[in-house]
Symmetry: C2
């Protein structure tokens, strides 16, 4: 292997030919050994010699070269989240990664911050993933699904509030979350219900269907629904609390547990009794809700398991011509504690 | 372009040759136009024709093929976090992604859950990134840095508690966080100080140096330091609170604000006055700490900005032969509120 006297960043990158030369075997043998091809019989001493030569030279296979030969990769692309990730989501996400790795996929996340659905699809397609699992922050369109499939993706799976044509759609209908929260409040006799709409960008994909669900749950009950803008900072919460009396609300569904904690604190500081004068409900069933006083009522959301999703990825990669399915995955239920 | 009558997942993937044929230009022209090469003069009508042909066929360039031709990619690889990501980190991370994208890099995150440092380095090297920014969860070794550089990475940057030989090391010495917390408690007259060690895997990279800093800050002051295991659940916190009297502690540094909230609630429920009998300090200066009663004292941590880190990536890619630098980036200070 030729080496310049320059520093390591300038050394030539070792190739499988270098490994073959050092180990005294063919390049095909190097490829079989390092890609763990079990269909070809190679003796253990030869395997060891190849691995030692690769280690000595610092050679690692080139995923891109391998994917060009194979026509596709084992890469599953997941968009990286741009907004704050709760513990619920994180657990799901780690489980999904583990399960995909056990199925011999490489999991790569791609930041899609600031890209719209079709821009994101094109950027993802450049990496030629065999599967894309879109988790709802990017509005993947049918055109985006088509771009991905034309670039060789065998599985495009969306986990989103709505079905996307051409993709396997796991629909998590966020409106059920708002619906559960408001049905709970109405059942407990509340009739004038604020619904917090977070000002932070990216959350509207969740907040808008939740609001819509809240509106539907109130329809015909005589209860009214009032949207309330709230940024995730103390000043915004204190401003809202300062004008609370004028709003005439006896309850609030505060988007999620974190916004609920913020608003409940501001209301308490403004002397508003919770739940006496105003009931508060969050969502996500986080630990923090149980630590608040009064304990926060919430909406518990059942997530799809990472294992189930990984199996769907693998099944679709193996049989890409099945009809795209739509499955409703959302399970939501109100959890009554002390704040409502 | 040949098309089978099968479904889209089975259609042949369009190539730049297909685009060239449809647009009536050479493959080189397609490449120049779609890669925005400014050094070659191509008329606007031709550029438009190429773009329209690419769109019609659903063609996107193949990042892997491009990287094989160029010998490297514009890909910056960031390990994806496996543990819960706080809002502080998330803001930094989004800023880093934006700044790198403005500099025309593609940002890809790689889950390294369950891989040790050298395994992770080999997995990353397979993607042939031009730069790797390791954010401290994976213990990247000098061997790992060498694997990455030999595979063509021009910049390897670590943001970790300790220097890593061969890499640009941005050292965030976590011991300062524990040191600040305990110095604050000692200064306020506390002499018997518990230090929470989270049981959750992955946090030991932060918890252990924080503990070490706590120990050093107490040395010679007459204060004693007691490690306290705590899992992030109510039962663990209630068990710890139930045995609190026996520990004889007058203060606790609770790792971070979230563990502090959990433990403070359990101590309050067990009738222990905060800060009268036990002072509590967290870390991270989250909003939630200001929402608690008593308001939570904390350690404010200055993070490196994403913009600064992106510029370091770009500078190192352009001049990979500079000596690896080590810079201390941690700025930490105690913030006194009501709980201490």
């Amino acid at each position: 292997m030729s080496q310049t006297p320059r520093q390591s960043a300038e050394r030539s990158v070792p190739t499988s030919a270098d490994v073959a030369r050092l180990a005294g075997v063919s390049r095909a043998t190097v490829s079989y050994v390092l890609n763990n091809t079990s269909s070809v019989r190679i003796s253990e001493p030869t395997r060891r010699r190849v691995r030692e030569a690769a280690e000595e030279l610092g050679y690692v296979p080139h995923a891109a070269a391998r994917s060009l030969r194979a026509g596709h990769t084992r890469m599953v692309l997941l968009p990286a989240s741009a907004s704050s990730v709760g513990p619920l989501y994180l657990q799901f996400f780690n489980e999904l990664q583990w399960a995909l790795r056990r199925l011999d996929y490489t999991v790569v996340q791609y930041g899609s911050l600031g890209l719209d659905g079709d821009e994101a699809a094109r950027a993802w397609a450049e990496l030629r993933p065999v599967a894309v699992v879109s988790l709802g922050e990017v509005g993947l369109t049918p055109q985006g699904v088509d771009i991905l499939k034309r670039s060789g993706a065998k599985a495009v799976i969306t986990l989103a509030p709505r079905r996307v044509a051409g993709a396997h759609s796991l629909v998590m209908d966020q409106s059920e979350v708002g619906g559960c929260a408001v049905a709970h409040l109405v059942q407990r006799g509340r009739r004038s219900i604020g619904v917090v709409m977070p000002s932070e960008p990216g959350l509207e994909h969740f907040a808008e269907p939740r609001f819509e669900g809240a509106r539907r749950a109130a329809a015909g009950t005589g209860a009214r629904i009032v949207p309330l803008a709230l940024a995730y900072d103390e000043k915004s919460a204190n401003d809202l609390a300062a004008g609370w009396a004028g709003l005439g609300l006896d309850a609030v569904y505060a988007y999620n547990d974190e916004y609920a904690m913020l608003l409940m604190r501001a209301l308490q500081d403004a002397g508003i009794d919770i739940p006496g004068r105003t009931a508060v409900v969050g969502a996500d069933d986080l630990l923090l809700g149980r630590l608040l006083r009064p304990r926060l009522s919430t909406v518990h959301i059942d997530m799809v398991t990472g294992q189930l999703l990984a199996e769907l990825v693998d099944r679709t990669v193996r049989d890409p011509n099945g009809e795209p399915e739509t499955r409703d995955l959302m399970g939501a239920r109100a959890v009554h504690r002390e704040s409502s």
